[in-house]
């Protein structure tokens, strides 16, 4: 490793950081003013790249065509952001924060399919930047001119933003709103215009960030979630709402990554460590460290007043097992009613498993007030643990399934130790970071996990080979798991969790160690998610890193939100509707995601309390009349 190679990697890292800064700045700006965590920000970045690609093709590969395309993409994406704000988010600012998140997630799904329809699934490689397509020799290394341009553009943009925020009336309003939202209303400012404007600027920044990557990165459909994860990390490391913070964080992460690549494989204390493989997780490690040392990021301030997850309402009564038992029994009879319908059996098995998965997430999100964006980590870890224990350690499947939840619980115990130190959006993003680390480890540990191919031959023993028998086993175990979790919610422990959510101040003042209880709840939820994961592995016969992916985590999030956070049975309804709908749609159309996204949007706009919450409210309205 020479100084020159470090420098080359450093410049490369900084060039990448400039786009990341733009996305993160946009995300931060939007969050600061509107308190919306825009999950679709990565999608806007991706669209920016696609739009720039097509515009260059149209205008021609000349300097004017290229820079024209960048400008066009920026404006188009900005306008799209404003449209999203006007059409969707404006209607749900008063809904709980999580619903806004769900809505922006639906936008992610729709945008992905729109991009698929217009640009297809193939990667599109953009042109070099005309006029900047050569390389410059620095210390014997060839550095692309374009990279140097990017390194200059980012600070200029920061300067421009800073001037706009400190020297203009608009900037003063944005800063005022970021510090105190009520104040803006009091100043007699049109909040709507301000919010739409902020969305325009924030989205335009994402579009610009994407467009500028045209010569460096092929446009592809996986960029949305990859970029949003990176942007979360940068915003959280920098401090939510702080644009200079985003800048510093982007550079910090860019530099650390560059060093890892430059280090390559080194032997430390006789151990071969591949630092270049570390790049996938290193930004998340940086984030975990920063958050533990500075819980609100490098330049962030403690949030003034965090709203609780939902409107605080009482928990409904504890579900009575005498009422649920016949229902479970009825489900168990279905294989007799439709003996040849293998599809139905698979669907029911999936629903049972994902119900447990969703309920375990709900325990965290609802009564404990901890939103996890990364619950799939435990699902995935347990699936792998079970498969590895059986295939590589040669343990019987029954033992593997019994042990796997403990492995997931142990992992959750480690991650949870960090996570419970934070709250709100910060906690959510840290869970996402840990999930992404988990995914990366699974993805890269070829010898143990089979890497991207996953593991196959994960079949249950003969007595469970019949799909019906496996369904029954799953049904019983999942029903038991859900029953235990529900019972826990109404136990002193569950109440204490709720106490910590309702009023941390009061909870502490009556001797409750909220953090410790949350930590334990985190591990417990992870373990039960793990039971689901282990059962899932053997129901499919093969597993892949997908099981620990962000997509899997957001699936669970959507299930819970769809069903309603402030309900008890909601997550099951959410899991059933989600799984069934996804299946039905996926069989009918290639564009199932967008249909699904539109369904979510419709539900969010119609039932801001979730499906079960919404139905319960309708029922209450109808009942007195009848």
């Amino acid at each position: 490793m020479s100084f020159a190679s470090i420098l080359a990697q450093l410049l490369n890292g900084l060039a990448g950081a400039s786009s990341l800064f733009m996305v993160a700045a946009g995300l931060s700006l939007i969050f600061g003013v509107t308190r919306v965590v825009n999950f679709a920000h990565g999608s806007l970045y991706m669209l920016g790249l696609y739009v720039a690609y097509s515009t260059v093709e149209f205008l021609g590969r000349t300097p004017l065509g290229f820079w024209g395309a960048i400008v066009v993409a920026t404006i188009v994406i900005g306008a799209l952001g404003a449209l999203i704000e006007i059409a969707i988010l404006r209607r749900i600012y008063r809904a709980p924060e999580l619903f806004q998140l769900l809505a922006t997630f639906a936008v992610v799904l729709v945008i992905k399919d729109v991009a698929l329809a217009i640009w297809g699934a193939e990667e599109l490689v953009g042109p070099r930047a005309p006029g900047l397509s050569r390389t410059v020799e620095i210390m014997g290394r060839r550095v692309p001119q374009y990279d140097l341009a990017l390194i200059v553009i980012a600070p200029l943009l920061l300067l421009g933003l800073w001037l706009a925020l400190t020297r203009t009336r608009w900037g003063a309003l944005v800063r005022a709103a970021t510090q105190d939202r009520e104040m803006v209303g009091a100043l007699g400012v049109d909040e709507r215009k301000l919010f739409t404007g902020v969305f325009f600027v924030g989205a335009a920044l994402a579009g610009l960030g994407g467009a500028l990557q045209l010569p460096r990165e092929p446009a592809n459909l996986g960029l949305d979630l990859a970029v949003i994860a990176d942007a979360f990390v940068v915003t959280v490391v920098g401090g939510l709402g702080s644009i200079p913070g985003a800048f510093i964080a982007a550079i910090l992460i860019g530099v650390v990554k560059a060093f890892c690549i430059a280090l390559g494989t080194q032997s430390v204390l006789g151990l071969e460590i591949s630092f270049s493989k570390l790049t996938l997780v290193v930004e998340f490690l940086v984030m975990a460290i920063v958050l533990v040392v500075r819980p609100y990021g490098l330049l962030g301030r403690p949030p003034a007043q965090q709203r609780a997850v939902g409107e605080i309402t009482t928990l409904p009564n504890m579900p009575d097992w005498r009422r649920w038992l016949p229902f479970v029994a009825l489900l168990a009879l279905i294989p007799f009613a439709a003996p040849d319908d293998r599809y139905l059996l698979v669907l029911l098995t999936d629903i049972a498993i994902l119900s447990l998965f969703a309920v375990s997430l709900h325990v965290l999100m609802g009564p404990s007030g901890m939103v996890s964006f990364g619950h799939a980590a435990y699902f995935g870890v347990a699936a792998y643990a079970a498969a590895i224990l059986m295939r590589k350690v040669q343990l019987p499947m029954e033992v593997a399934v019994a042990v796997a939840p403990f492995v997931a619980g142990a992992v959750a115990l480690v991650y949870g130790w960090f996570c419970v130190r934070l709250s709100g959006v910060y906690l959510a993003m840290l869970t996402l970071a840990f999930a992404q680390i988990t995914w990366s480890v699974i993805f890269q540990w070829d010898s143990l996990t089979g890497g991207s191919n996953g593991l196959t031959g994960v079949w249950p023993p003969a007595w469970l080979a019949d799909k019906r028998v496996y369904f029954w086993l799953t049904l019983v175990l999942c029903a038991l798991g859900i029953g235990l979790l529900w019972r826990m919610l109404f136990s002193p422990f569950g109440y204490a969790l709720r106490a910590g959510r309702d009023s941390p101040l009061r909870a502490e003042a009556i001797g409750i160690d909220v953090r410790r209880l949350q930590w334990f709840a985190f591990a417990l939820a992870g373990a039960f998610a793990g039971l689901g994961g282990a059962l899932f592995a053997f129901s499919k016969g093969s597993i892949s890193p997908e099981l620990a992916s962000i997509a899997q985590s957001t699936d669970a999030l959507v299930m819970v939100l769809l069903g309603g956070v402030e309900t008890i049975t909601g997550p099951i309804a959410g899991a059933a509707i989600f799984t069934w709908l996804k299946d039905e749609l996926a069989r009918r159309t290639e564009y199932w995601r967008s249909v699904f996204g539109l369904v979510i949007l419709a539900l969010v706009l119609l039932f801001p309390q979730g499906v079960v919450g919404g139905l319960a409210m309708l029922w209450r309205r109808v009942r007195p009349a009848s």
């Binding site: 009482t314 002193p492 009061r506 003042a509 009556i510």
Partner: protein, 257 residues
């Protein structure tokens, strides 16, 4: 006189340049009602927050039953027998009134680790008895989120009593109540102090309440303790009168808020 339950010596706290609490010393003995009065921003709540461990102090000492408690967590201080009500009520809004008290009882009996029993069935009668004392028994099944402010204050008192405190800290316990209710609530606190030998430290803006029930009064102004003693002596203190000049509050014609 019995031994002091609470001894405060040289307590100080500054926020930036503001000396919120500045070299404050006093003691409270068992069975005594000590009123801490002073205009808005005098540092009363800040003082309370240091006593129960919510805020760290810049200097000074706080001894509870002879034990140094400065630097301990609120939950540890609570376990030593300190009950507290907040100026801005802090209750579990998603739970019923009774469940709020049950939580404090459960925590006091180290029962929060139970994962399978029903929380709402535990210590029910005891919770009702406590609620009865503060006149909230009939509202036991109501959710805290919908209660009137004065009622929330009563719930807080019941919660604060759940661990059989040796010291009760009440920050403006009667704010938001009608005058008659105020007198009743403080009469209750006074009888508790006498019967159970509880030391009570409270802040209060209603001087009728203060002079009707306090055994002794300490007066804070801009963080400094400017007077302390029997009510009559404090009332006659010229410095205290100067602080309260114009408000008329010292002389029993409180301006309704």
């Amino acid at each position: 006189m019995s031994a002091p339950v609470l001894e405060v010596a040289g307590l100080a706290k500054a926020f930036g340049g503001v000396r919120a609490v500045d070299d404050v010393s006093f003691t409270v003995v068992a069975g005594e009602l000590l009123a801490m009065i002073g205009p808005n921003g005098a540092g009363k709540s800040t003082c309370f927050n240091m006593l129960n461990g919510q805020l760290s102090a810049d200097a000074g000492a706080v001894r509870l039953l002879g034990r140094d408690v400065l630097g301990m967590k609120p939950r540890a201080i609570w376990r030593l027998g300190v009950g507290r009500t907040f100026q801005i009520t802090a209750t579990f809004t998603s739970m019923t009134v009774r469940e709020n008290v049950q939580m404090a009882l459960l925590s006091h009996r180290h029962g929060l680790g139970s994962l399978l029993s029903r929380a709402s069935a535990r210590h029910r009668n005891e919770a009702d008895a406590l609620l009865g004392r503060v006149g909230m028994r009939e509202q036991g099944d109501r959710v805290c989120g919908v209660l009137a402010y004065g009622d929330l204050k009563r719930v807080e008192l019941a919660v604060a009593l759940a661990n059989d405190p040796k010291l009760l800290l009440m920050d403006e316990p009667t704010a938001g109540m009608a005058p008659k209710e105020r007198i009743e609530l403080m009469a209750l606190a006074a009888s508790l102090a006498r019967e159970r030998e509880v030391a009570v430290l409270f802040t209060e803006h209603d001087m009728d309440v203060v002079f009707a029930h306090a055994d002794r009064i300490i007066v804070l102004d801009r963080g400094r303790l400017i007077a302390q003693g029997e009510p009559a002596a404090v009332r006659a203190d010229p410095q205290v009168q100067a602080v309260y000049l114009g408000s008329g509050a010292m002389f029993g014609h409180e301006v309704p808020a």
